[in-house]
């Protein structure tokens, strides 16, 4: 059985510093908005998939599935998904599969993360735990450090510069200017990026996504449920792909190619029966500026070594051929890691429905893509969203 999967409603808290809020309250707020948007009663939910990565670090709280289902007012089997920064992307995929295969008609998906109650040092340590604890963390590799290793290798193999990366940060901040949910609604200049304090060479502060608190949610329903309940659910998930790679960066054949993303994209494109050329708008996992480059190449929008100049040339800006990260991306919208994949779904749904602040830039768009990565892309999940005909 292959069922149509509709996004009946989405919700998302503002991303940013709200360190006094627990994940219960954050997810409760995001799901309240999603249920309201969906016009679906809470008691219709048959399953909950929830992404969270660092609950044990930030709140000393494990076993969050039933806790957040309760916070959402839902009585249904509830499972927490940890796939690092791809947690709620994977949660979305599980919900999609549940409906697609006919095992459920209504699934609540999303994620939540509380990060800013940790110090920068403790947050850095918590994020690093998504890397290999023996061979990377114990050598002092941080999360920015791992991507910096990838960036320097990319420069060696393909060329590129700090200025090329800076254009990505500037672009994504520009996209977030009017997004009230974004953590940073302010423009930055190339000089701001290049002159910022160095975190891990070649990255300065503005090459890095911030620590953020926030939550995201989506109510997924079958096409049959949407029709029988008279729901206005114009956006479908038509493709989903996920894949994995060697855990440690050093064990990979290449440090600037992401086969987990390559394969996840292939699976999602096949599932949706589209090609990269069909995609009108994309939200990709720009946890660091180089990550957007690597994503665009894995997704088939650019050949290897060619996406480094995309932002500089304006090809991925709001008026470019392929607008990328119109939400502001992780870079400017914020990156509460367990909520990020769900936030991409939420923002893309609004972009395609026409009720996002940047929808007017893509008013003819019918196909959107989301790309959500975990760790140094040891995990990756890709979704294709389309406007129903």
């Amino acid at each position: 059985m292959v069922n149509d999967v509709r996004i009946a409603g989405v919700g998302m808290t503002p991303f940013g510093r709200q360190s006094e809020l627990t994940v219960r309250e954050l997810f409760g707020n995001a799901t309240a908005e999603a249920f309201d948007d969906a016009s679906v009663p809470r008691d219709a939910v048959e399953e909950v998939y929830y992404g969270n990565y660092m609950g044990e670090f930030a709140e000393q709280q494990g076993h969050q599935g039933p806790m957040v289902a309760e916070a959402a007012g839902v009585k249904a089997p509830a499972t927490r998904i940890d796939s690092a920064c791809a947690s709620s992307g994977v949660a979305t995929r599980l919900g999609y599969e549940k409906i697609r295969t006919g095992l459920a008609d209504v699934v609540l998906v999303g994620g939540s993360e509380r990060m800013t109650n940790l110090s920068t040092s403790d947050g850095t340590q918590a994020l690093a735990a998504a890397a290999d604890s023996l061979w990377e963390i114990r050598a002092g590799v941080t999360f920015p450090g791992a991507y910096a290793l990838m960036a320097n290798r990319y420069f060696e193999e393909f060329g590129g510069s700090r200025e090329d990366l800076a254009h990505i940060a500037v672009k994504n901040h520009e996209h977030a200017l009017e997004n009230e949910l974004a953590q940073f609604q302010r423009a930055i200049s190339l000089e701001d990026v290049i002159d910022a304090a160095e975190i891990c060479s070649p990255f300065g502060m503005f090459d890095c996504s911030p620590m953020s608190d926030g939550a995201s949610a989506a109510v997924l329903v079958s096409g049959e449920f949407a029709e029988s309940h008279g729901l206005d659910a114009p956006v479908r998930i038509t493709g989903s792909g996920q894949h994995s790679d060697n855990f440690a960066l050093a064990d990979r054949a290449s440090m600037c190619r992401m086969p987990a993303a390559d394969r996840a994209a292939e699976i999602a494109y096949d599932d949706a029966d589209i090609s990269p050329a069909d995609v009108d708008v994309a939200e990709v996992h720009d946890c660091f500026t180089i990550a957007e480059v690597l994503a665009l190449e894995s997704l088939g929008f650019y050949e290897p070594g060619e996406a480094i100049t995309a932002a500089r040339e304006g090809e991925t800006s709001i008026d470019g051929d392929l607008p990328v990260n119109l939400s502001g991306g992780l870079k400017a919208k914020g990156h509460p890691v367990g909520a990020t994949g769900g936030a991409q779904i939420s923002e893309m749904t609004k972009l395609l429905r026409g009720d996002h602040v940047n929808s007017s830039a893509v008013d003819d768009a019918t196909v959107g893509l989301t790309h959500n990565a975990g760790g140094t892309v040891a995990s990756c999940v890709v979704h294709v969203l389309e406007v129903a005909e």
């Binding site: 920068t120 040092s121 403790d122 850095t124 340590q125 690093a128 023996l134 061979w135 990377e136 963390i137 114990r138 050598a139 002092g140 590799v141 941080t142 920015p144 450090g145 910096a148 290793l149 990838m150 320097n152 290798r153 060696e156 304090a197 160095e198 975190i199 891990c200 060479s201 070649p202 060697n246 440690a248 960066l249 050093a250 064990d251 440090m255």
Partner: protein, 129 residues
């Protein structure tokens, strides 16, 4: 120290480096991996043999880290590199050279030192002239 319980495989490897006899695990297909490994993740082969690690490696990439986690707070700034030693790549910290002078392709030898912050053992690379 933060790590006062041995991690078999990993700590065995550090011991071997300190003793001047580092090794990697090789599968019948010739793929190399650092321990602990039960199988070759590429092929699923279980018959892994210890093979001497090449004495000299080559830096593939590097980064100077200024913002560290609490376990390396007193070590920052420090430089992390990934270096190729034949069929395996190793991640470690670079010693005895300024970051600005490190180039990809730099020849290095492997060693073990203690971190300033926690005094745990850490893999390090020494540049080779």
């Amino acid at each position: 120290m933060r790590y006062d319980t041995r991690d078999k495989g990993f700590d065995d490897f550090l011991d071997a480096v300190e003793q001047g006899e580092p090794y990697y695990l090789e599968s019948p297909s010739g793929n190399g991996w650092l321990p602990p490994r039960v199988v070759d993740p590429e092929t699923g082969e279980e018959d892994l043999a210890e093979v001497a690690l090449p004495e000299q490696g080559e830096v593939l990439t590097h980064t100077k880290t200024h913002v560290a986690g609490p376990d390396f707070a007193d070590d920052a700034p420090y430089t992390v590199a990934i270096a190729s030693f034949g069929p395996v790549n190793v991640t470690g910290q670079v010693r005895n050279i300024e970051t600005g002078n490190i180039e990809i392709g730099q020849a290095v030898k492997l060693g073990v030192e203690r971190t300033k912050t926690t005094e745990d053992r850490v893999l390090v690379f020494y540049p080779v002239e």
